[in-house]
């Protein structure tokens, strides 16, 4: 901490944690969220067929974190919609992205440098939401560690955790997969961030909240900007999980793997579905590695 004070990072972190989010950072959050909605298959068609359904989906994408956190804590899910200015800003962004003549707005924000700036600002908002969510939960449940972690997690991941129900609104029902079963990088990062912030809130982590916000934001911004710029869906946690998970949760190709290698061989699909019922796999395994593993098991059995 002396190093930090020598570099006067403490004051920087403090002023950073007090930057008002509305309107610029919130605007970028809405833009990136609704951009991801537009990437969903059938979203543009939905906006032409039923603008109301498209608007509701856009609102879920933008304010899903607040709705889920309110549901968890037993408050009115519609509570955040009392902020008229935020809702109007999100609606304006939705309208511009979906209905701008000649798609001008979409073309402007899809330019990679501009998109990277918005993605960076979105991560600032995400980390701040996690911190505020944990603070809010701490206010209601002083010793509810898991409640704080859960609230912070849903605040960080937002609509991803209710993606099944949001897709239902669009007329798509895919119960075979959900965000918890196949966690994307932002959801996982929100979980780890929620754990860190809860430890900080309960004084187990000897770091001030402003510093933690600062470092988490730096980490998230750099990871997400790098991932978006390289168009990759990998995650920086893959390598670490590749080491830790076999130790903690048992290797996928250990005792459990021998009993069920028939299942692996016969019904292998992109999600590695059957194996997830029997043993928690390290999520770092890709489809190619799984197929290779099953081939090796078959070869061993044939010997």
């Amino acid at each position: 901490m002396e190093l930090l004070s020598a570099l006067s990072l403490g004051e920087l972190a403090l002023s950073f944690s007090r930057v008002p989010l509305f309107p610029v950072f919130d605007l970028s959050y809405f833009i990136v969220s609704i951009l991801y909605l537009k990437y969903e298959p059938g979203a543009v068609e939905l906006s032409r067929r039923s603008p109301v359904a498209s608007w509701i989906c856009a609102m879920l994408y933008c304010f899903g974190s607040y709705i889920l956190a309110d549901l968890l804590l037993g408050e009115a899910p519609i509570d955040y919609f009392s902020n008229n200015s935020s809702v109007l800003l999100a609606s304006a962004v939705w309208y511009m992205i979906f209905f701008c003549p000649m798609n001008l707005f979409y073309k402007c924000i899809s330019v990679l440098p501009v998109k990277l700036i918005f993605v960076a600002m979105k991560e600032v908002v995400r980390v701040r939401k996690i911190a505020v969510g944990i603070h809010h939960a701490h206010h209601h449940y002083h010793h509810g560690w898991f409640i704080m972690i859960a609230t912070g997690w849903v605040k960080g991941s937002g609509v991803a955790l209710m993606s099944n129900f949001e897709q239902l609104l669009r007329g798509v029902w895919k119960p075979e997969t959900n965000e918890i079963l196949h966690m994307s990088f932002p959801t996982k990062a929100s979980l780890y961030g929620a754990i860190l912030f809860t430890l900080q809130q309960t004084r187990w982590l000897p770091i001030s909240k402003a510093n933690l916000i600062f470092f988490c934001t730096l980490f998230m911004v750099s990871c997400k900007v790098f991932l978006t710029a390289t168009h990759s869906h990998a995650s920086p946690f893959d390598t670490i999980e590749g080491f830790i998970c076999p130790v903690l949760f048992g290797s996928a190709w250990g005792d459990h793997g021998d009993h069920h290698h028939d299942d692996h061989g016969s019904s292998q699909d992109a999600h590695g579905g059957p194996s997830s019922f029997h043993a928690p796999q390290p999520l770092a395994k890709s489809k190619e590695e799984l197929n290779e593993g099953s081939r090796k098991r078959k070869a061993k059995k044939a010997e």
């Binding site: 537009k38 990437y39 298959p41 059938g42 543009v44 068609e45 939905l46 906006s47 032409r48 067929r49 039923s50 603008p51 109301v52 359904a53 509701i56 309110d70 037993g74 408050e75 009115a76 899910p77 519609i78 509570d79 919609f81 009392s82 902020n83 008229n84 809702v87 209905f99 899809s110 239902l168 609104l169 669009r170 007329g171 798509v172 029902w173 168009h231």
Partner: protein, 295 residues
Amino acid sequence: MCGGLSAFAMEYVWEEVTLTFSRVPMFPFFDIAHYLVSVMTLRQQHGALAVAWQNPLVSWFSAMMYCFGGGILSAILLGEAPVKFLENNTNVLLASSIWYIVFYCPYDIVSECYRFPPVKLLATGMKEVTRTWKIVGGITHASSNYTDAWMVLIAVGWARGAGSNAIINLEQFLRGTWKPETSKSLKMSYPVKISLVGAVLFTLQHAGKLPMEKHSLMFCYTFFIVVTKIAMMLTESESSPLTPFEIMLGRMLFGFWQSDTSSVPCKSSFNGTGTRSQHYSTNVETKRRHNKKTE
């Protein structure tokens, strides 16, 4: 002088009429009509009679969803107990008795009577009156916590007025008889649209932006929706008087120029039999988006 007096008398009569109208209690007659229409809608669903004879509890539950769906949805939105509608024992008993006599009356007397057009028209007209009361009640209830939050007031008023559609979908989904492609939110029916209009109007009046008294607005809105609904039922047409405005707004704001002129936006069934030209142009657009995404 005479003209001034008669104008004053007219205004006085108008005030009296609208005030008296706004104080009419919904219980019991209008509530009976509302429950009757709701349960008859349930009965006309495919397979509802079979469910009623095999599993009365499920049928009763569905009937309660149809009758009280709006209140349930608005309670969920506001973070109150969804079972709050069970608090009012009299209404629940009334709805249950109507469910019983509709489904289990000997020789189906009640449903046969309901098919008789004047009875159907009267009941539907009275149900539309209850819709106004529900929207106003929802907005008043929500405004106790959220005085300035227009979005919340509109959402709660809309949920109260037309929320039963969403709750019905949820209940059918839990029973396993719902298909996501035919979601009512994708194909907004007339009551849903008219409830949205009503919720917006009453919220504006509540916030003081509309220079009308609440009872006058209630009277005018109720008159409009009752007349429109009865006219639609008599002419058996699907298009409401709002349709021209919808088409105009749709073309201006949401790009409905791609659909052909015969199909009405938001009304035609888009279950894969929709306008081909619209699908083609939007498919082309979607392909371009996907290409851009994978660059």
